[in-house]
C-alpha cells in the first residue's frame, strides 16, 4: 500500500524548504505549532518563528504588520479558529490592504473526527472566498499541499490554505506544472463530471471506478483552487458531460458546491448534485466512519451521480 500522509505534513515540509530559499518567510503560530507541523520550521529557523499563544486575532493582525514590513508570514492554526475566530482581522487587517499573508487552516473538515463539531471546520471555504483579494486553496494530498505552499509563498496577496489531519495516499503526479487557479483533470469521462476538492478527490476517483462497473463514464476534476475558480474547466465539463456532482468535506452552502453552481448558472446551466455537509454540525466519531455516515464517501458520490444522470437532458 502506498505511503499515507496528511496534507499538513506536505505543508510542514514546504515550510522547511521555504526557510532555506526565502529569507522573508516567517511562521506564526497560535499555540498549535506541532499540530499544524509549523514546529518543523521552528526547529530549523527559531529566529523566524513567532508564537502568539491562544490568540488567533492578535496573530492575524500581527501577520499584517509583518507583511507591511516586507515579510511573507504564514499564520497557521486550526481551520475553525483561523477562518472563524479571526475573520474580521483577516477582512480588515489583511484582505482590505491586499497583504501578502498566508493563512493556514489545518484540521479542516469532518475528518478531524473524535474532537467533535467545535473543532471540525466546515465553513472556511465559504467564509474565505467571500473576501475580496483572497485566494482559497484546498490540496487533495500531501504532495499537492507541499506544492501549494511553495506556490502560495510566490503568489502576491492573501492566501487561505485548507489542510487536513488524516493521512491519505498521494494521488497527484505533477511534473513541475502545479499552478494556483488551474484545475486538474484526474481522469477523463463523458457521462458526467465529479468536481472534487481536498480529500474528496480521493473518494471521487473511487466512485469513478464503481460507476465504470455500471457502464457509466465519469470525469474527475481536482479543483484544488476554489478562488480564483477555473471557470474554463467547469464550463468545458458542463458542455462535454452535461451533469456535475460536487464533492467536498465542507458545507455545500457557499462552499465548493455553491462556487461551482455560481459559475454554471451564469455560463452553462446543467443539473448539479452537491455532496457535502448540509446545514448541520458534525459530531464525534472516527474520521472514516463519519465521512461514510454523512455521505462524504465514494458510496455517497455514486448515489449522487445516479441521481444527477436522471436529471440530465
Amino acid at each position: 500500500m502506498a505511503d499515507l500522509k496528511a496534507t499538513r505534513d506536505g505543508f510542514g515540509e514546504a515550510l522547511v524548504e521555504l526557510g532555506k530559499t526565502n529569507e522573508n518567510v516567517v511562521v506564526l503560530s497560535a499555540d498549535l505549532a506541532s499540530s499544524v507541523r509549523a514546529n518543523w520550521f521552528k526547529d530549523k529557523y527559531p529566529g523566524r518563528f513567532f508564537d502568539f499563544g491562544v490568540a488567533e486575532q492578535d496573530m492575524m493582525s500581527t501577520a499584517a504588520g509583518f507583511a507591511l514590513s516586507g515579510k511573507i508570514p504564514f499564520a497557521a492554526t486550526f481551520g475553525v479558529f483561523a477562518s472563524g475566530r479571526a475573520w474580521d482581522q483577516i477582512r480588515v487587517s489583511i484582505c482590505y490592504m491586499n497583504l501578502n499573508v498566508k493563512i493556514v487552516g489545518s484540521h479542516g473538515g469532518i475528518s478531524v473526527g473524535p474532537d467533535g463539531a467545535s473543532h471540525q471546520a466546515l465553513e472556511e471555504i465559504t467564509l474565505m472566498r467571500v473576501l475580496p483579494n483572497m485566494t482559497v486553496i484546498v490540496p487533495c494530498d500531501s504532495e499537492e499541499a507541499r506544492l501549494a505552499t511553495i506556490a502560495a509563498a510566490a503568489h502576491k496577496g492573501p492566501v487561505y490554505l485548507r489542510l487536513g489531519r488524516e493521512p491519505f495516499p498521494i494521488i497527484t503526479d505533477y511534473k513541475g506544472d502545479y499552478k494556483i487557479g488551474r484545475a486538474v483533470t484526474m481522469a477523463d469521462g463523458t457521462d458526467l463530471t465529479i468536481v472534487g476538492t481536498g480529500i474528496m478527490v480521493q473518494e471521487a476517483l473511487k466512485a469513478r471506478e464503481e460507476l465504470k462497473k455500471q457502464g457509466i463514464s465519469a470525469r474527475v476534476i481536482n479543483l484544488h483552487t476554489i478562488k480564483p475558480i477555473d471557470k474554463e474547466a467547469l464550463i468545458k465539463a458542463a458542455k462535454e458531460t452535461g451533469a456535475i456532482v460536487t464533492a467536498e468535506e465542507h458545507t455545500v452552502s457557499g462552499g465548493l458546491g455553491g462556487a461551482v453552481a455560481e459559475v454554471l448558472v451564469e455560463n452553462f446551466p446543467v443539473p448539479v448534485r452537491m455532496v457535502g455537509m448540509k446545514d448541520r454540525f458534525g459530531e464525534s466519531g472516527e474520521a472514516k466512519e463519519l465521512m461514510k455516515y454523512f455521505g462524504l464517501s465514494h458510496e455517497g458520490l455514486v448515489t449522487a451521480a445516479l441521481e444527477v444522470l436522471k436529471l440530465k437532458k
Partner: protein, 275 residues
C-alpha cells in the same frame, strides 16, 4: 531632533483643528470630537518625534505610526497634508467618492501606514512592524494611537501580552484618554479603570501625561524611547472635542457627526482664539 517650541506646536495644532472641523463639515459626516481630542498627540508625533520623509513615504528606515482608532483619521489626514505627504487641497475630498481620504484610515493615503477602522487591530499590526524591524536589525520605532473606548476590545490585551512577551522596546502605545465613547462616559458604558495598573500588570512601562500639554507629550515620547526591555504606553489625558466649546459640551453627540455649516464660523473662531 531639536525640540520645536511649545508655541510653534500650538500654532500648528490650531491649524490642524481648523482643518479637521472644516473638512468634516464639508464631508457632512464623520467623527469630530475624537478627532479633536487627539490633535496635539498626532502633532507632537509628526512635528517632533517621528523620523520620516514626506517625499519618500515608504523610506525603509522611517518610524511608523499606526492609527488604531481609525475613525479619527481626519486628524491624521490633516497632519500628513500639512507635513507635505500630499497636497492640502485633497483634504476637502474627505469621504467623497474617488477620494484618497476614506471615511476610516486606509493605506490609499500617502503616509498612512495601515488600514484600520475595526477597533482593536492596530496594536497587533504595530507589533508585527516592530518584530520585523528587530529581525532586520533596523532601529525604527513604531507608535500606535489607540482610543480609550477601544480598550474594551479583547485583542488590545492579546497584543499587549505579545509586545511584553517579545520585550518590544521599539514600540510605543499611546491612549487618547478622553473618557468618552460613542455610547457615553466610559464609566457608564464599561469601566476600563484602573487603566494604568492594567497596562503595568501586562508588563508595560506606563507614563501618564496631559494630552494637550506639548511639553509633557514631548517629555513622555522621549522617556518612552529610553526604556529598554519592555514596551511603553503613554496614557494621554485629553478632552473630547478639545478646542471648541460647543463640541466639548456635547462631545458624545459629536462622536459620529460633523459640525453644521451654520456653526462652522463659530468653531473656527473659537479655535483661533484658543490658547
Amino acid at each position: 531632533m531639536n525640540r520645536p517650541s511649545v508655541e510653534e506646536l500650538k500654532g500648528i495644532a490650531r491649524e490642524i483643528r481648523k482643518d479637521v472641523v472644516t473638512m468634516l463639515c464639508e464631508a457632512g459626516s464623520g467623527h469630530t470630537s475624537g478627532s479633536l481630542s487627539c490633535v496635539d498627540i498626532v502633532v507632537a508625533l509628526y512635528y517632533y518625534k517621528l523620523q520620516n520623509d514626506p517625499k519618500d513615504p515608504k523610506w525603509a528606515a522611517r518610524d511608523r505610526f499606526v492609527l488604531s482608532k481609525g475613525h479619527t483619521c481626519p486628524t491624521l489626514y490633516a497632519v500628513l497634508a500639512r507635513r507635505g505627504f500630499f497636497p492640502c487641497d485633497a483634504l476637502m475630498t474627505l469621504r467623497k467618492r474617488g477620494s484618497i481620504l476614506q471615511g476610516h484610515a486606509t493605506i490609499s493615503t500617502p503616509g498612512c501606514e495601515a488600514s484600520t477602522g475595526s477597533l482593536g487591530q492596530g496594536l497587533s499590526i504595530a507589533n508585527g512592524m516592530a518584530l520585523a524591524g528587530r529581525m532586520d536589525f533596523k532601529d525604527y520605532r513604531v507608535y500606535c494611537l489607540m482610543g480609550d473606548g477601544e480598550q474594551d476590545e479583547g485583542q488590545i490585551w492579546e497584543a499587549a501580552m505579545t509586545a511584553a512577551h517579545y520585550k518590544l522596546d521599539n514600540i510605543c502605545g499611546i491612549i487618547d484618554y478622553n473618557k468618552q465613547q460613542i455610547g457615553g462616559w466610559l464609566s457608564d458604558v464599561k469601566n476600563i479603570e484602573p487603566l494604568k495598573d492594567k497596562w503595568a500588570a501586562f508588563g508595560w512601562n506606563v507614563i501618564e501625561a496631559d494630552g494637550h500639554d506639548f511639553k509633557q507629550l514631548m517629555d513622555a515620547l522621549d522617556k518612552a524611547e529610553m526604556i529598554k526591555g519592555k514596551p511603553t504606553v503613554i496614557i494621554a489625558h485629553t478632552v473630547k472635542g478639545k478646542g471648541v466649546s460647543f463640541i466639548e459640551k456635547n462631545s458624545v453627540g459629536f462622536h459620529g457627526t460633523a459640525v453644521k455649516k451654520a456653526d462652522l464660523e463659530k468653531a473656527i473662531k473659537e479655535i483661533e482664539e484658543g490658547k
